[in-house]
């Protein structure tokens, strides 16, 4: 339905988007993930029509959007700091888009009341928006974007200003509500955990370009570039030529020379003190750190060649400084591109 082809954009001399192409399926939630300044917000603004100058094409259901003014696109955009209307109350905010559609006052009141109830704002309709808590503001902003039943919902760091525990809960709730409405959504965030929780597909952006676009699981399992891997929180990334061990590991994992000069050792394929077995390579080192996380430990082992491998383990018997062995599944060794 939404298709972007070779979309580029610049603010003056600063290039903010480089030939981004993607397409969005009906009912799909697409996450755009990336550090600040990577162009993800600009992409949203282009799709919404808030920025007009770009090259390439953006179309929706086959219709080119370049000539369609913002207010006729029928897209919802939820802003990073919510951009609630300070002069309207909760109900006034939620009903604003309905009013623009020319929906009657009675219908507006009903939709607003239903939506407010569904989103957990029941009873707050007459409240001044300045008097709301962060979570409540977020709900109002969401309700406001959803009320006119947009053809496409865009959310720009919707949980950015909230604290962590609230964020996890609300991320799931957001997904539930969006799915319930059955609309397509583009969700911008810089937090990969949030993206995993919400997205059907995740696009990782870097310096204005779309680096990888995949389902969350595939993205996690097979990041394509060092940047993506690092941004997903992975640390076991080494140049193939770092030492004899990395070279041997890459060769044994079946990564042809010249294809991957950087390798990632996926943390899920590393085991501590397990006996040597086929399909895995054994290495020895010292346990250099261990952090208790409740259900598991985050440990790091410094192997003999100075390589530091980090991974989670279920149980931990060794103490810090102890000599340990690790076994690395060949299947967990992935070739990365340097972007």
């Amino acid at each position: 339905m939404l298709t972007l082809a070779e979309v580029s954009h610049a603010y003056g001399d600063v290039v903010s988007l480089r030939a981004v192409s993607l397409s969005l399926q009906p009912g799909e939630i697409l996450c755009l993930l990336g550090p600040s300044g990577c162009g993800k917000t600009t992409l949203l603004r282009l799709i919404a029509g808030l920025e007009a100058e770009y090259s390439g094409s953006i179309s929706f259901e086959g219709q080119d959007l370049s000539a369609l003014p913002v207010h006729q696109r029928g897209f919802g955009l939820m802003f990073q700091d919510f951009a609630l209307f300070p002069h309207l109350d909760v109900a006034g905010n939620i009903a604003y888009g309905l009013k623009q559609r020319g929906i009657s006052r009675e219908a507006r009141t009903k939709i607003t009341r239903d939506l407010a109830a569904r989103i957990g704002l029941a009873g707050l309709e007459k409240r001044d928006v300045a008097a709301l808590s962060g979570g409540q503001k977020q709900r109002v902003a969401l309700a406001r974007s959803l009320a006119p039943e947009p053809r496409l919902l865009m959310l720009d760091e919707p949980l950015g200003s909230l604290d962590a525990p609230l964020r996890d809960a609300l991320a799931l709730e957001l997904r539930r509500i969006i799915k319930q409405q059955g609309i397509s959504a583009i969700y911008v965030t810089h937090d990969h955990r949030e993206a995993y929780a919400v997205a059907d597909r995740i696009g990782v952006m870097r310096r204005g370009a779309l680096e990888q676009l995949d389902a969350p699981h595939a993205l996690y399992q097979r990041p394509k570039t060092a940047f993506v891997a690092r941004f997903l929180g992975m640390t076991n990334i080494f140049p193939r030529q770092q030492n004899a061990f990395t070279q041997a590991l890459a060769a044994a994992s079946g990564i042809p020379r010249g294809q991957g000069e950087i390798i990632l050792v996926h943390p899920g394929g590393i085991a501590l003190n397990s006996p040597p077995r086929a399909g895995a390579m054994q290495a020895h080192g010292k346990l250099s750190s261990a952090v208790f996380r409740g259900d598991y430990y985050d440990v790091a082992v410094t192997a003999a060649e100075g390589m530091r491998l980090a991974f989670p383990v279920k149980e931990l018997a060794a103490s810090i400084g102890a000599k340990v062995s690790v076994s690395i599944d060949y299947a967990a060794v992935i070739a990365l591109r340097e972007s």
Binding site: G49, L50, V70, F79, A83, P86, Y96
Partner: protein, 544 residues
């Protein structure tokens, strides 16, 4: 404690003189005589005058805001070469004496003015199609000419510090341009709109010279009536009754305005929304037409003055300017005009230095003391709403004993100027002050900042754009005022407007040209002052 400063200033230099003159006027023989009020309400002359005063002020204010609004929008949203210069220069008309503006307008719009000449030549007419002289229309045009900058600058300074998210959110929700103005922009800039509107309204309400000169005898405002009764007829009771009626009308309006002021939790940001270059054809056209219309409307009358000051007998001549450098004819009033420039600047500087801190303190007081604000907010506006003649007489009766024997002192000039400049500073600052998020200062205080540090590091940078506007108006008010300067005529006190006024009091070609040349000098000095004040904004930075 600091709050006492502006209160004391207002008490001593406004309330005390005012009450003294009312006392003398209404209690001439020791007993209160209110028969003048009865006359006020029984005669429909005065009722008509009151109604007309309201009507023309309302109309002028509405037109001013209506024209300033789209221009403010363009100034806030777009970047274009010469923008801040244009914004500064737009304030120039404010400084010109009414006699001069009347001349400039008849040079342009009069029966034999430029526009009519043009229209006649264009359509080969044998009459002047534009007949504006002595109509309400020309009064309104002149009021807009004078007050456009007040509205433009106050609104722009405030608006530029608001973000654009609310607007963008509304666009995404399907708001077209009409809905954006109606539902988002107007409500959000309402505080600045009201602030500017109330200033402009008061200015028009007490308009004197413009109405007399351009409107002719058919139109008279309350201010004109007060002058006539106080000076020509010396009917002090009636003048006092009219003054009180004038003040009460303004006061009631101000009270409605203050209590109608809904608190908006907006957040100003340093730098605010970034203006950008116009890109699309439509945007370029908009910027171009706004700038050219503004230039046409505000600067052609000024240019007409410049042109007339330079032409003598069909040739360009600098005689008017040359004469300014001389102490012509050795007369006391013609001090070398260069000296008048120095005097004007000295008073303007003093008034600015007094009005800025006093205005800032007052604004904080109105902002912080919510309950008292209802009282103080209108109070600080009153000097603008008080007839100059009444207050002048009040000075004479009240400030006649040591240590306040200021009647003939030069101090009276900066004091009077400060009194008038104060409302401008307050009205410029208040909307921005109200929009500073409270949490900002509180969090800074939690972090260990002293109130002074909070003020200098947080509030001041956020207020800087509004302070610049306030300072500009304080400077301009002082540069253009001549009533108070005229009164104390020691040599040090002869200011540029006084010289202009004197020169225009004589027949002959030379004084006429010199007066016009002096007007041009006044504009140049003011323009230079504006640019300097803009520079001071370095303290705050930001787009405006």
């Amino acid at each position: 404690m600091l709050y006492l400063l502006p209160l004391a200033f207002l008490g001593v230099f406004y309330l005390y003189p005012l009450l003294s003159i009312f006392d003398i006027s209404l209690r001439p023989a020791g007993t209160l005589d209110l028969s003048a009020f009865a006359r006020l309400f029984l005669s429909d002359t005065y009722l008509r005058t009151l109604l007309f005063t309201f009507y023309q002020a309302l109309l002028s204010t509405a037109v001013t805001l209506l024209l300033a609004l789209p221009c403010a929008y363009i100034f806030v949203r777009y970047r274009f070469p010469g923008k801040s210069l244009l914004l500064s220069l737009a304030t120039l008309p404010f400084v010109l004496p009414t006699v001069v503006v009347a001349l400039a307008f008849s040079a342009l719009l009069g029966a034999r003015g430029l526009v009519n000449d043009l229209l006649r030549a264009l359509f080969t007419l044998d009459y002047s199609p534009l007949q504006l002289e002595r109509t309400l229309a020309i009064i309104i045009i002149a009021h807009v000419f004078y007050n456009f900058a007040i509205a433009l600058r106050i609104i722009t300074a405030y608006w530029a510090a608001l973000g654009t998210e609310a607007e963008e959110a509304a666009s995404c929700l399907g708001a077209d341009w009409r809905a954006l103005w109606r539902d988002i922009r107007l409500p959000l800039i309402r505080p600045a709109l009201l602030s500017a509107g109330s200033l402009v309204f008061i200015f028009n309400f007490t308009s004197f010279g413009v109405v007399l000169l351009l409107g002719g005898i058919r139109f008279a405002t309350l201010e004109v009536q007060i002058y006539y009764q106080a000076v020509n007829i010396f009917n002090l009771p009636l003048a006092a009754a009219l003054s009180i009626a004038q003040i009460l009308s303004m006061l009631s309006l101000m009270v409605i305005y203050t209590s109608g002021q809904k608190k908006l939790q907006l957040s100003l940001r340093r730098g605010g929304a970034s203006a950008r270059l116009p890109r699309r054809r439509r945007e370029k056209l908009m910027v171009f037409s706004c700038v050219s219309l503004m230039a046409l409307f505000l600067f052609t009358p000024l240019l007409a003055l410049v042109a007339r000051s330079l032409f003598a007998g069909g040739a360009i001549s600098f005689d008017g300017y040359r004469a300014l450098a001389e102490r012509s004819r050795g007369s006391l009033l013609f001090i070398p005009p260069v000296a008048a420039i120095g005097n004007s600047l000295r008073f303007a500087l003093l008034s600015m230095l007094a009005a800025l801190p006093l205005g800032l303190i007052s604004a904080y007081m109105i902002h912080r003391q919510q309950r008292l604000a209802r009282l103080f907010d209108p109070l600080f506006m009153l000097p603008l709403a008080t007839s100059a003649v009444t207050l002048g007489f009040g000075f004479i009766v009240a400030l006649d004993e040591a240590p306040l024997n200021l009647r003939a002192s030069v101090y009276i000039i900066p004091i009077a100027h400060t009194l008038v400049a104060l409302p401008f500073v307050i009205r410029s600052i208040l909307p921005s002050l109200r929009a500073i998020p409270r949490a900002l200062g509180e969090s800074a205080q939690v972090l260990g900042a002293t109130p002074w540090h909070v003020f200098t590091s947080l509030d001041l940078p956020l207020l800087a754009p509004s302070l610049v506007v306030g300072a500009t108006f304080a400077f301009t008010v002082s540069m253009g005022e001549f009533g108070a300067s005229l009164f104390v005529a020691q040599r040090e006190s002869v200011t540029i407007p006084v010289v202009i006024y004197r020169l225009f009091g004589h027949p002959g070609f030379a004084p006429y040209q010199q007066a016009l040349a002096m007007c041009v000098v006044l504009m140049l000095v003011c323009a230079a002052g504006f640019l300097l004040i803009e520079r001071l904004r370095g303290v705050g930075g930001g787009e405006f």
